[in-house]
């Protein structure tokens, strides 16, 4: 409890880029206070993920952002472009750009799930998120680190905790 309060107190806001630096449908990696952060522009909405895969630490944000492919049986290949999944360049696992949730298990199971943003301003609220295809997806075991990003005037501002900032893998 003590540690959590401390983390919350030390959240700092960083101006990362100008709004036009991340065109719609694309993502860019920025170095912020010694950490690499991927900023994603999904139809004018911004999302931020740490450039570090929760699986084995790969440079997650260097991957491609793809839509969701799902199926009920062979020959039935469906596509849902509303879902945006970043695919890790190391082992190809998929993570929801918006929530950081890993997916590789698209079982046909309706399931609501709870995510807790681990870092950033919303970290003390438990949010209930429902995937856009609630009938198609079951979350995997990992969650990439999500950061809060906001458009403030002409800048993109990321909130992140100061205390855990450290040396980044591959950062130079």
């Amino acid at each position: 409890m003590e540690a959590r309060k401390k983390t919350a107190r030390e959240v700092e806001r960083h101006i990362v880029a100008r709004v036009g630096d991340v065109p719609e449908g694309e993502h860019r990696i920025f170095s912020v206070a010694g950490r690499e952060i991927g900023i994603f522009n999904v139809r004018g909405e911004y999302f931020a993920l740490r450039n570090r895969c929760p699986h084995l630490g790969g440079p997650l944000c260097e991957g491609e952002v793809l839509g969701l492919v799902y199926s009920s049986k062979p020959g039935d290949v469906r596509f849902d472009g509303s879902k945006r999944l970043i695919t890790c360049p190391w082992h190809g696992w998929e993570f929801d750009v918006k929530t950081g949730q890993s997916y590789f298990n698209p079982r046909l199971k309706a399931r609501r799930y709870t995510v807790e943003t681990s870092v950033g301003e919303a970290s003390r609220e438990r949010q209930e998120a429902v995937p856009e295809n609630p009938d198609e997806l079951e979350p995997g075991p990992y969650k990439a680190e999500v950061l809060q990003v906001k458009e403030e005037g002409e800048y993109l501002v990321v909130a992140m905790p100061k205390s855990t900032a450290g040396r980044e893998r591959g950062a130079s």
Binding site: L66, L68, V69, Y70, S71, S72, K73, P74, G75, D76, V77, R78, T87, C88, H91, G92, W93, E94, F104, N105, P106, R107, L108, G140
Partner: protein, 362 residues
């Protein structure tokens, strides 16, 4: 009473519970033995051409090769395992089996003639029913199909697949095409509708490469390489979504070993996690599909040192996957007693009888 496999122990000393032998063989002694079960035209074709039977038989088990039959199971002037009296004397009595699954692999699909191959399959199946099943109530059997011709295979399943003691459709592991491919789906449809098991068995067409890299030069090499074909077929069945299309389908992997399964599983699970969007119908890790849909015979065991073997069993991650088999009359020098000893107590009964009983609904 003992047999060579029992290594001087009595059957009860080795295992006092029930035994189901999931892989015993019937060998067609000669093509002529099938003539009474064939339309005359095919017998005449064979005589006309001096054709003595499918070549695939000798590819899997050349008559003189040591693996083909234990010396104790050979008899002067007759083909090993070629009648029910031999099977009784060598296996059914000494092992006191409750049920045995009889596999007559006759390489029917190494014959390319589409009508003749189908006729040959019909005659093998009718011969098995008349000369074996009708003569011993402990036997259930596999049927053979001309597997390279799915339409003909379906017809044959429709003809004999409802026989109450036909429990399995034998598919030789060597094939020209991988069995997961959709062209084979009608076979699986016919099979699962009758609750028959797919028996993925040693052997196959001479055109089907026994290794995944081509044709080996030597018999020893071919024998060792053929194990790779099992991995290729299983990978294909899983990747192509056969178990999503046919959720009731069950596969018995016969004579393929099983010690390679954990390594295969680790690789497949990893590939699937990263690349599942290419095969989005595969709805769970491949190793989970193995545990749900596949069973493996323990002939051969390919046992290494006991402590390593125990690890392999653990890595497979379920007690419900292995089934006892003698693979009569083929020779594997595995020590069944030593193997049983390293299994957890709760698993022995499953291996010796219960898993096969469940799989084949015996």
């Amino acid at each position: 009473m003992t047999t060579p496999l029992l290594e001087g122990k009595s059957r009860r000393e080795l295992w006092s519970g029930p035994i189901i032998d999931c892989d015993v063989h019937a060998n067609v002694p000669s093509l002529e033995a099938l003539f009474p079960y064939q339309e005359e035209v095919w017998a005449q074709f064979a005589r006309d051409r001096g054709w003595g039977g499918p070549t695939g038989v000798d590819i899997a088990y050349p008559a003189g090769a040591p693996t083909t039959a234990r010396p104790e199971w050979r008899s002067e002037g007759s083909v090993p395992a070629s009648d029910v009296a031999m099977l009784r004397e060598h296996i059914l009595e000494p092992w006191d089996v409750e049920r045995a699954v009889l596999n007559c692999y006759y390489a029917v699909d190494s014959l390319r003639h589409p009508d003749w191959a189908a006729a040959l399959a019909r005659s093998v199946n009718d011969w098995v029913v008349a000369e074996w099943l009708d003569k011993d109530p402990r036997l259930v059997a596999s049927m053979v199909v001309p597997a390279r011709d799915p339409a003909a295979a379906v017809k044959e399943i429709e003809r004999v697949g409802d026989h109450p003691r036909i429990v399995q459709v034998l598919m030789p592991v060597r094939s020209e095409r991988l069995y997961g491919q959709r062209v084979f789906f009608p076979i699986y449809e016919a099979m699962t509708r009758r609750d028959l098991v797919m028996g993925l068995h040693w052997g196959g067409t001479p055109e089907g490469e026994p290794s995944t890299g081509g044709f080996p030069s030597w018999y020893a090499e071919e024998y060792a390489a053929e194990t790779q074909s099992y991995g290729a077929q299983i990978t294909s069945l899983i990747a192509e979504g056969v178990f999503q299309q046919f959720p009731d389908m069950r596969v018995a992997v016969l004579e393929g070993g099983f010690t390679w399964v954990p390594g295969w599983g680790w690789r497949m699970n990893a590939e699937w996690k990263g690349l599942r969007r290419e095969i989005p119908w595969v709805d769970r890790p491949p190793m989970d599909i193995i545990r749900d849909h596949f069973r493996f015979s323990i002939a051969p065991i390919d046992a290494g040192p006991p402590q390593e073997m125990a690890k392999i069993i653990k890595w497979i991650g379920t007690e419900d996957i292995l089934m006892f088999a003698t693979d009569y009359p083929h020779m594997h020098n595995d020590d069944v007693g030593a193997f049983l000893e390293l299994l957890p107590e709760s698993m022995r009964r499953k291996v010796m009888a219960d898993t096969a009983r469940d799989l084949y609904r015996l």
